[in-house]
């Protein structure tokens, strides 16, 4: 019964989405306030309905109702509760339901938190959002219905893929989806701006918090996914340039570019056309990612050709929304007046450079991801474009971004002083250079590692130089400095932290070349040297989990004869799917990690062991956390707080003469 209510709620949500797509839009175009007023309650109700439907599916998973195909195929009664819940989105149908749920969530949030927005703009935004929701609800209901029943309910389910039974993967998809789908709202804002012709600095101000929220979650989602791959796939790889990963990286790159160009639009009323275009692009890439992952085209181009229903459906959605928005864009863009002018060397100029490099690197990822698919579809020849391609193209494009970041922060709006900015980063350059030399002397290794680490140090220090300059001064008491620090706009701190986060991640990535790998056969009690540590397997014993058995190797990590940690690498056998999964034993020491995997025990009691020492590896994900923290700081800035836009918009007219110096 509950399941049927869920299904019915989904159908109702579709009907409501169609109403919300048409009436408020018509109201906005004809200036009818009553019609426009429908949009807010409709958006909230739509979210509630899809939420009900999602809860119903969750309920079916929790109580193991195997009369549902979806539950039967992806669940098992002995599965721990958390994986019963995460199993809801650990499959195609459920994850698409989560997709529309988040889509509706963003619509509802705009409806609730945008009291200060002009009514017509809000009505159009919610209408466009609703069209997207309607398209995906149709997709869910017609091609991927999670509520389909089985005529003969089996006694037991097939269990969730053991690789997905992991806390990391329980939270990774929701995080990623909030980021991914969050760009739908910036898309809706862009479409609304084009429809209403209201494209100005205030628009950028309305959009920026939403872009930031999506960006924060996307950053966390990508980092979480990469950490999951790192500790479950068994050999410590954290990024494979796999199409599935690229599908999330591309919107991130476009979204980062959007965040920066929206700042220019907000402050200087320039780059308007470009910002709108980026807003469309970011969501288009999210849609493309959804298409790549959900159509089966990655599993095989032929799978797409033989079972085309889902793929064709998403492709149709993709073409409709991207094509429609680009047509609207082409129609309207020419009528836009160019805004504020600026010299090539200026904050705007630096942000244009940032945008240029980010979008170009995004394009290289795009080519590397789609070229094999295109080639196979056309010639039948199969190639794989792997890490070497991306390292050679993406890498060189990212280095100038890193070099320019601290300098760009230092340039003034309109017309900057390049020499002055360069002088102020001298300290950061020195620290970077000294750090690189020191690391080269200490660790040796391929030259590129210390060079990139030096670059990362330069970026981390350089990110805070501008702030330091505004706080510190000769003979200024600490209390004054603290007061100044607190008085700075939070967005300035946000920028500094987000940039420094990139630096930390870069440092962690560069340091991977200093990693040590050992593959060996060892007995219980053997001392194994790895990097600066020794590792000893103390005992191997079986252990029972709720839906698996495992062999655990209790292992001690020592440094110079002193115990520093214990790790428990294991091998888990999941009986339902007859799958074995290795659980790595990982311990973080400093910023480095000891990473250990075991294979089956041999007859003589010895173990095949794969052991790594990965110095500074934790910085890769720590950097992402710092980036997200920077985003959060920016989001909490008074100026950007949702609802402030209208008042600030009025003040902006006055403030335009007095440009803030950040």
């Amino acid at each position: 019964m509950i399941v049927e209510i869920g299904h019915y709620a989904l159908v109702l949500a579709l009907a409501l989405a169609l109403v919300q797509g048409v009436l408020p839009l018509a109201g906005a175009l004809r200036g009818d306030a009553a019609l426009m007023a429908i949009s807010r309650p409709a958006a909230v109700t739509q979210f509630v309905l899809i939420g009900l439907s999602f809860l119903a599916l969750t309920y079916a998973h929790v109580v193991s109702d195997f009369s549902l195909v979806n539950v039967f195929e992806n669940s098992h009664s002995a599965k721990p509760l958390i994986y019963k819940i995460s199993g809801v989105w650990g499959n195609h149908e459920g994850s698409m339901l989560l997709w529309v749920l988040i889509l509706a969530l963003f619509g509802a949030l705009v409806a609730v938190f945008s009291r200060s927005m002009p009514d017509d703009l809000r009505a159009i935004v919610l209408s466009v959002q609703s069209w997207i929701a309607a398209a995906f609800l149709l997709f869910v209901l017609f091609t991927s219905n999670p509520f389909a029943r089985l005529a003969m309910p089996p006694m037991e389910g097939r269990d969730l893929n053991p690789l997905l039974q992991d806390p990391g993967l329980a939270i990774h998809p929701p995080l990623l989806y909030v980021g991914y789908v969050g760009f739908s709202i910036t898309f809706s804002f862009a479409a609304a701006a084009l429809i209403s012709g209201r494209i100005d600095a205030a628009w950028a101000r309305y959009v920026r918090p939403w872009t930031l929220v999506s960006w924060i979650f996307l950053t966390l989602g990508i980092a979480m996914g990469s950490y999951w791959a790192y500790y479950t796939l068994g050999w410590g790889g954290f990024w494979f340039w796999d199409p599935v990963e690229n599908a999330s990286l591309m919107p991130w790159l476009a979204g980062t570019a959007l965040l920066h160009s929206a700042a220019v639009m907000e402050k200087r009323d320039a780059l308007k056309i470009w910002t709108i275009f980026l807003a469309i692009l970011a969501f288009s890439l999210s849609l493309l990612g959804t298409f790549l992952v959900r159509s089966g085209v990655l599993t095989s181009v032929h799978a797409f050709a033989t079972d085309p229903q889902r793929g064709i459906f998403i492709l149709a959605i993709l073409i409709t929304f991207i094509g429609g928005s680009l047509a609207l864009f082409a129609f309207r863009a020419s009528s836009l007046k160019p805004g504020g002018i600026f010299a090539p060397v200026s904050r705007e100029g630096a942000l244009v450079l940032n945008n240029l490099l980010l979008t170009t690197s995004c394009a290289t990822v795009f080519v590397g991801t789609l070229y094999p698919l295109a080639l196979e579809a056309m010639t039948g020849e199969k190639i794989s474009v792997g890490a070497p391609f991306f390292n050679l193209t993406f890498g060189p494009l990212f280095v100038p971004i890193v070099l320019a970041m601290p300098i760009g922060q230092m340039l003034a709006w309109k017309r900057g002083d390049l020499l002055g900015a360069a002088q102020r980063v001298v300290l950061a350059v020195l620290i970077g250079a000294v750090g690189a030399l020191a690391l080269y002397a200490l660790q040796g290794g391929p030259v590129v590692a210390p060079v990139l680490c030096g670059l990362a140090l330069y970026l981390i220090i350089g990110s805070f130089v501008e702030i330091a300059g505004r706080i510190a001064g000769r003979r200024v008491p600490i209390s004054v400095m603290a007061a100044r620090a607190l008085g700075l706009p939070r967005s300035a701190w946000g920028t500094a932290f987000a940039h420094a986060g990139i630096g930390l991640t870069l440092f962690g990535l560069a340091a991977t070349s200093w990693g040590v790998e050992r593959i060996l056969i060892a007995h219980v009690g053997d001392d194994i040297r790895i990097g600066p540590y020794e590792v000893r397997v103390e005992r191997v014993e079986p252990r029972m989990g709720s839906n698996y058995r495992e062999w655990v190797a209790h292992t001690r990590v020592r440094s110079g004869g002193v115990d520093v940690a214990t790790i428990d690498p294991s091998r888990r056998s999941f009986s339902t799917r007859e799958m074995v999964r290795t659980e790595a034993g990982i311990v973080t020491l400093g910023f480095g990690q000891i990473y250990m995997n075991i294979a089956d025990q041999r007859d003589d009691g010895s173990l095949d062991i794969r052991l790594y020492w990965k110095p500074y590896v934790a910085l890769i994900w720590l950097g992402a956390l710092v980036m997200a923290f920077g985003g959060l700081l920016s989001l909490s800035d008074r100026r950007l707080r949702i609802g402030v836009a209208k008042r600030a918009g009025a003040r902006a007219q006055v403030a335009r003469n007095v440009q803030p110096a950040e």
Binding site: P173, V293, T299, P344, V352, G368, S384, V385, A387, I521
Partner: protein, 154 residues
């Protein structure tokens, strides 16, 4: 600087970045791209291959062909039921490596032996390296209609 001058600067810098990107892309395509072949295709094309070209070979591990010697050196045969390729590899095999199952080996051809530096096995009973599934389907030895996903992440 005039508006025109500014626009020219912008266009020139955009073009130069794009040119660099295209150049890098073309250069990387030469070395960063790995071709996938089945044992049959390999047998047909051996002569026209560049020596030391990186390849991926996919097929089934021939039952009974796996030989493990000391020091984690393994040798096995990849077969597509028509032709066979001898593969040698040093290192730990993936958890899901089994005789009779699908596998993809990446490495270089040395004489008539394929020296693999990485071996990928299918991830679960649904997922198989897609090249393998495709080539097996083509030959009609494929018996799983289910579409597989590697992970449930988007």
């Amino acid at each position: 600087m005039t508006r025109k001058g500014r626009r020219l600067t912008l266009i020139a810098s955009a073009l130069s970045v794009i040119c660099i990107a295209v150049g890098l892309g073309l250069y990387a395509m030469k070395d960063g791209v790995v071709f996938f072949v089945t044992p049959t295709e390999l047998a047909a094309k051996t002569k026209e291959m560049r020596p030391n070209a990186r390849l991926r070979i996919g097929g089934l591990v021939l039952p009974g062909s796996l030989v493990k010697s000391g020091d984690r050196h393994v040798a096995f045969v990849i077969s597509d039921n028509q032709s066979e390729v001898k593969v040698s590899y040093t290192g730990l095999l993936p958890d899901l490596f089994r005789e009779g199952q699908g596998v993809v080996a990446e490495g270089t051809l040395a004489g008539d032996e394929f020296k693999a530096d990485s071996v990928l096995a299918k991830h679960d009973e649904k997922y198989m390296p897609r090249e393998v599934a495709d080539s097996l389907k083509k030959q009609g030895v494929w018996n799983d209609g289910g579409q597989g996903t590697k992970t449930a992440t988007p």
